[in-house]
């Protein structure tokens, strides 16, 4: 293989000297360590020549350091001369260091060219058109691993600033009152409890499939506090079947507290929160049984749900109960939306819980996320406007902004 290749190089080299004037050697060739990578790669950059075209081809020559005879270099790549431009490589304006119209080729360590970091190698570029071939000057370079990927700078800045915003918002929320809009679903909650009282039927409240480490379960527990307070005030029976023993213990505390706050501690029943089983379908079958036997007037489904959602809400709907759901499990949302009377969609669940709990960490996080969303919203609007201007006028300056939201590796 090697012999064959070097034979090819020889053939290319010993073309008549007169023909060499036809094509000019690639000019301003630069060979550097490929930036922003883990090493073992060199990048070659050179200016376009006026012989560039589909019929001309560039060759990348490679060899050990100290080689001065181009004949001893190996051709490791060959491609049409109208390809491999700097602009084809995905990069941002702060990492691009050559004109977009120049040529660029990255030599990676592989079978043809084994690169060791710190060792220098000889590299040259040749332009071939028909039988003519011209070779640039021979350059020496060594590759090295890098400590930072500058292409991901925007990612890092975004991460740091968003983190900063969240913590700032949390500390701000600890000191000040922050406005949160009222979640309409909460009115529906009160209404459902009211109706249960009128009918003298119990209320069923589920906290979802996950344990207390999931934010949606925490939100469900917070909203349970609110519901329990109302049921205490109206003296309505509350049923909370659980799938996780720890969640049950926490919810028991929350319910007790709610009854205390409502001034009816004597009405609190320890067994209104009860554990069924952690298995998905046994739990579902049991809850369905409760729905059919006790016919609660209102069913609440808060927290995280999986395929069991439809089995629960469909049975609930068949008993004629008012159903209110709140979940961040987006794959189950369609079923809740169709079978329930009111659904807190996704983040509305967290917002409702933050609204009720008034806890600075929750409110602050929500506010921080809102700011994040606002930034993204404006970036999208502004970006679309700039991209359109760029596309219509062919101007380059919009990319100064657009590159900030580009994912480049």
């Amino acid at each position: 293989m090697c012999v064959l290749l070097s034979a090819l190089v020889h053939l290319g080299l010993y073309v008549p000297a007169a023909a060499q004037s036809m094509v000019s050697a690639p000019a301003e060739v630069r060979v550097n360590d490929t930036p922003n990578d883990g090493g073992a790669s060199l990048t070659v950059i050179w200016t376009p020549s006026n012989s560039d075209g589909p019929d001309a081809r560039y060759q990348i020559l490679f060899g050990d350091s100290g080689v001065t005879d181009p004949a001893l270099l190996k051709v490791i790549a060959e491609f049409p001369a109208d390809t491999r431009f700097v602009k084809d490589v995905k990069a941002t304006w702060w990492t691009r260091n050559a004109e977009p119209t120049w040529h660029q080729y990255a030599i990676r360590s592989g079978k043809d060219a084994e690169l060791k970091d710190g060792t220098s190698y000889t590299v040259a570029v040749a332009l071939r058109k028909g039988d003519d071939r011209a070779i640039s000057q021979l350059l020496q370079a060594a590759s090295a691993p890098n400590w930072f990927n500058w292409n991901q700078l925007n990612n890092l800045i975004l991460a740091l600033s968003f983190g900063g915003i969240v913590f700032y918002a949390i500390s701000h929320a600890k000191r000040n009152e922050i406005f949160l809009r009222r979640i309409p679903g909460l009115d529906a909650v009160d209404e459902a409890i009211g109706r249960s009282t009128e009918l003298g039927k119990p209320i069923l409240y589920l906290t979802g499939a996950h344990d207390m480490s999931d934010p949606s379960t925490i939100a469900a527990a917070v909203i349970l506090g609110r519901v329990a307070k109302r049921t205490a005030a109206y003296e309505t029976e509350l049923l909370v079947p659980h799938r996780d023993p720890i969640t049950m213990a926490v919810c028991q505390e929350i319910t007790k507290q709610a009854y205390l706050e409502a001034g009816k501690p004597d009405l609190f029943k320890e067994d209104s929160n009860f554990f069924i089983t952690s298995d998905q379908f046994s739990y579902t079958a049991a809850v369905d049984g409760i729905m059919l036997r006790k016919k609660p007037a209102a069913n609440f489904f808060m927290g995280s749900y999986f395929a069991e959602s439809l089995l629960l809400t469909e049975t609930g709907a068949s008993t004629g109960a008012i159903q209110i759901a709140g979940t961040d499990s987006d794959h189950q949302l369609p079923f809740f939306v169709t079978t329930c009377d009111y659904t807190l969609i996704g983040e509305e669940l967290y917002a409702a819980s933050a609204y009720l709990s008034k806890e600075p960490v929750q409110i602050g996080t929500l506010r921080g996320q809102d700011i994040g969303k606002a930034v993204i919203l404006s970036a999208i609007v502004l970006g679309t406007a700039l991209a359109t201007i760029g596309a219509v006028t062919g101007a380059q300056w919009p990319s100064l902004f657009l590159d900030l939201f580009k994912d480049v590796k």
Binding site: Q152, N154, N155, L156, L158, A159, F162, I178, F179, L180, R181, R182, D279, F281, S282, A285, D288, G289, R293, H331, L333, P334, F335, V337, T338, I345, G346, E347, E348, A351, A354, L366, R367, D370, K373, A374, I376, L377, A379, I380, V381, G383, T384, A387, T388, G390, A391, V392, G394, L402, F405, K406, D407
Partner: protein, 248 residues
């Protein structure tokens, strides 16, 4: 009896027992359901033992001498202290490690894949310079990259993002944007519902295909006999429980 024939009988029986839930919750369903939990837990334990203990821990450590792997083993064992009340706090070290690494890995990757990439793709020129026609606005709805669709996607993304905005009251012009967001959400939910119908029906088709296959005489007609058995049991059970149900 041949293992396949026995398998056909067992599989058919269990399938029918579970389907009996459609009539109502009954002991046959409960039996199959608990068996399901037991078998899948047993399966997981065997797989975890074989993969983790044998192939990822014992072999590399004793055959290749990778003693560094004792560290994750120690972390894993710490996790199990959760069940010893006095030493339960030790499990925190394990969770601290897992959750710490998990959160660290997630931050830049989430930003890259789900924020930057998604914003990058939403930000597209609304008008384009196509060939020699000058500035064009393409109206082709079927081409997702056409100008009209770029605008629709833009409206959808913005209005839905706005809907999940909790710092401002949804009133005035905000109300219109939020309402648009709701409409977009409903369309997406409708599409998801429609798509899911196919998913659920596929499961049913899969089970029925097996039942049809097992109704073959070469297996001894398990589907037929077991269906008769299941219905029979259900009838007996409902007879027996109907006077008792009044008490409940």
């Amino acid at each position: 009896m041949d293992a396949t024939v026995l398998g056909a009988w067992v599989a058919t029986g269990l399938t029918l027992f579970i389907f009996s839930f459609l009539y109502k919750d009954n002991p046959l369903f409960k039996l199959a359901e608990h068996l399901y939990v037991g078998v899948s837990v047993g399966y997981t334990i065997v797989k975890a033992y074989d993969t983790v203990i044998v192939h990822l821990i014992v072999k590399p450590i004793f055959e290749q001498g990778e003693f560094a792997l004792l560290i994750p083993v120690a972390i894993g064992l710490l996790m199990l202290t959760r069940y010893v009340p006095k030493a339960a706090w030790l499990s925190r070290y394990a969770f601290a490690f897992i959750v710490g690494v998990g959160s660290g890995l997630a931050i830049p990757r989430t930003i890259s894949s789900f924020i930057l990439k998604q914003v990058e793709d939403t930000v597209r020129p609304v008008l384009s310079l196509a060939g020699g026609d000058g500035v064009t606005f393409s109206m082709n709805l079927l081409n997702p990259a056409s100008s009209i669709n770029v605008i629709i996607i833009l409206i959808g993304v913005i209005s839905v993002l706005f809907y999940f905005f909790f710092s401002i009251e949804h009133s005035g012009p905000g109300k219109i944007v939020a309402r648009t967001g709701v409409m977009f959400l409903m369309i997406a939910f409708g599409a998801a519902f429609g798509y899911t119908v196919m998913a659920r029906m596929s499961l049913l088709i899969g089970r029925l295909t097996d039942l049809i296959e097992f109704s073959d005489a070469s297996y001894g007609n398990p589907t037929l006999w077991l269906a008769i058995l299941t219905v029979g049991v259900l009838l007996v059970l409902s007879r027996r429980s109907s006077p008792g149900e009044q008490e409940k």
